[in-house]
């Protein structure tokens, strides 16, 4: 276990020192939070008495999960794979399972930093979350992290590094704009809204919003996320290759 923790720390420090990863993990989500939370550039379907930040901050926290668990993780792992880092570590007592466990823990460590930074920014702007909904939001965040980390490892372990770079960034933009993360699925046309609600991004965004605004725990969304987590983890375990 000490080895896994040491490797997780090594990975988390690498991620937090990397300018591009910081940009996508913290800076861009912070800009989205400020832009959508405090301007009317996008019209939101708010309930009576609801503030824009009640919708935007949980969505941005979901975006942060997507950034660290999927985009950053996929790109870092793809280049580790190309440079032989995964092969090298797989020959040490850490082993292949230790590598995966370390990467998952490093994602959680980066997410603690993200939640602290983005949560503090939201609070400073006037966001007042429902404290009773925090445990439910944490559970949703963990399920989302598992699903997106598995998706990241899946593409990092099967595609070339340059292709992973392109796919991971493209998916981040697509899910930001139309994935139901930052903007609720109900914002979109009825056809797109149905599809979005069944995506891991849409399920995570809706469940986080419901939990943190005191609306209860979205069981359907949690089940959707759990199903995505199971399928993507199984695919990653079957198809991931540490060597290119």
């Amino acid at each position: 276990m000490n080895r896994v923790l040491t490797y997780a720390r090594f990975e988390a420090v690498s991620a937090l020192r990397n300018g591009e990863q910081l940009l996508i993990s913290i800076i861009l989500p912070a800009l989205v939070l400020i832009g959508l939370g405090r301007s009317g550039v996008v019209e939101l379907d708010l309930l009576p008495g609801q503030d824009r930040l009640d919708v935007v901050v949980p969505g941005v926290l979901g975006l942060a999960v997507l950034s660290s668990a999927f985009t950053s993780q996929a790109i870092a792992t793809a280049f580790d794979r190309r440079w032989g880092v995964l092969r090298q570590l797989a020959t040490t007592p850490l082993g292949a399972r230790g590598i995966v466990a370390g990467k998952v823990l490093s994602v959680f460590a980066v997410q603690v930093v993200q939640v602290v930074a983005l949560g503090a920014l939201g609070l400073a702007l006037g966001w007042r979350p429902e404290v009773a909904g925090v445990p439910g939001a944490l559970l949703v965040g963990v399920l989302g992290s598992v699903a997106f980390t598995s998706l990241g490892l899946l593409i990092a372990g099967t595609l070339r590094a340059e292709a992973v770079l392109a796919v991971a960034n493209l998916l981040w933009v697509l899910l930001l704009v139309g994935g139901g993360l930052v903007l609720p699925a109900a914002t979109f046309s009825s056809g797109l809204a149905v599809v979005t609600a069944w995506l891991p991004s849409g399920a995570m965004g809706d469940a986080l919003r419901l939990s943190l605004t005191g609306g209860g725990f979205d069981v359907v969304a949690a089940v959707v996320l759990a199903a995505w987590s199971g399928v993507l983890t199984a695919l990653a375990a079957k198809l991931f290759r540490p060597t290119s």
């Binding site: 000490n2 080895r3 040491t6 490797y7 090594f10 690498s14 020192r17 990397n18 280049f79 580790d80 440079w83 032989g84 880092v85 092969r87 090298q88 570590l89 797989a90 020959t91 040490t92 007592p93 850490l94 082993g95 540490p242 060597t243």
Partner: protein
């Protein structure tokens, strides 16, 4: 007799139905450098990856220090230096070596090792800013810092300057002298000849010869060898015309500098034979940089063992294989 540090028995690996390693058996002993040689596609990398636990065999067994290859007890006592580095580019040599030390459960100070590898000045420079030779030495450091009982080295001195190459060779020898088993894969025959106590030559997924460098040279390059180094490399046609004109078998036509840069002929170096060669050079207007006669090198033996002709019937290699 102690069991070998690495024992590969009847290993077979296929990719998509194509057999790349075919019932291969070989071993490596403690306190010896064992070189595994072969042309690209011979099955060296696949074999070594199976021994490192990175790839699964279709059949056969691999025992590493008494444990199954890739098992936790085996990984704890093995060091690996990969040809493609295996280094995180954004981190420093100190950080990388400290991580590998921690993976082996050692909180050792890596500074003495960095000094031994002549890396002290760049210890806190990110790997991506190091030269190719410096990265090679960091990789070697990662492989040896846990003082492994079995060390796999893949092209350890590729791209190194002569001073760095000597440094690496001295380190390998000191590890061997300390009792470690070293398994070396390399395309530098000079390196294998300088370091190896035992050489295994693979071709088309099979073991075609084993022995000390001296034994292989005696058996397959012999004393009756003449080597030409033309100023400009000879074409395949020219090599064939030369062999025909002088009535000798061509052992090989290749070396550093490309195909045809050195042509090796198997024939007793009589004055008449040497005169025939020089006459052919006059006729074809071929200028020579050197003409050597006498005992062959490991490279000559290797070229003989891995040549297309070696796969044909009645060839000494096949006869030896059949005898085993």
């Amino acid at each position: 007799m102690p069991s070998p540090a690495l024992a590969i028995d009847d290993l077979t690996v296929a990719y998509g139905g194509r057999v790349v390693v075919d019932r291969l058996s070989l071993s490596a002993d403690a306190g010896r450098v064992t070189a595994v040689l072969g042309p690209n596609g011979a099955g060296k990398t696949t074999t070594i990856e199976c021994a490192e636990g990175l790839r699964r065999a279709d059949s056969g067994t691999i025992t590493v220090l008494g444990h199954p290859a890739g098992s936790s007890p085996a990984r704890a006592r093995v060091g690996v230096m990969l040809q493609d580095g295996g280094l995180p580019m954004a981190r420093t040599a100190t950080e990388v070596l400290s991580l590998v030390a921690a993976m082996h459960g050692r909180s050792r100070d890596v500074d003495p090792l960095l000094a031994r590898l002549d890396l002290t000045d760049v210890a806190r420079t990110p790997v991506r800013r190091l030269s190719g030779g410096q990265r090679q030495r960091v990789s070697l450091g990662a492989a040896i810092l846990a003082e492994p009982d079995l060390l796999f080295l893949d092209e350890p001195s590729a791209g190194l300057d002569p001073q760095s190459r000597r440094l690496v060779w001295d380190l390998v020898r000191s590890l061997r002298d300390g009792g470690a088993a070293v398994v070396l894969t390399t395309h530098l025959l000079e390196e294998a000849e300088a370091l190896a106590d035992v050489v295994h030559v693979l071709a088309a997924g099979r073991l075609v010869a084993s022995g000390s460098p001296h034994e292989l040279i005696e058996r397959f390059a012999g004393p009756d060898t003449v080597r030409l180094r033309p100023v400009s490399p000879l074409s395949d046609d020219a090599v064939a015309r030369l062999a025909h004109a002088v009535g000798a078998a061509t052992v090989g036509a290749g070396r550093e500098g490309g195909r045809g840069a050195v042509v090796t002929l198997r024939h007793e170096p009589t004055p008449a034979f040497v005169a025939a060669i020089t006459a052919w050079c006059v006729e074809e207007d071929v200028r020579l940089r050197a003409l050597d006669v006498g005992g062959g090198t490991l490279e000559d033996a290797y070229l003989e063992l891995t040549s297309p002709a070696a796969q044909s019937a009645d060839h000494p290699v096949d006869r030896e294989r059949a005898a085993r």
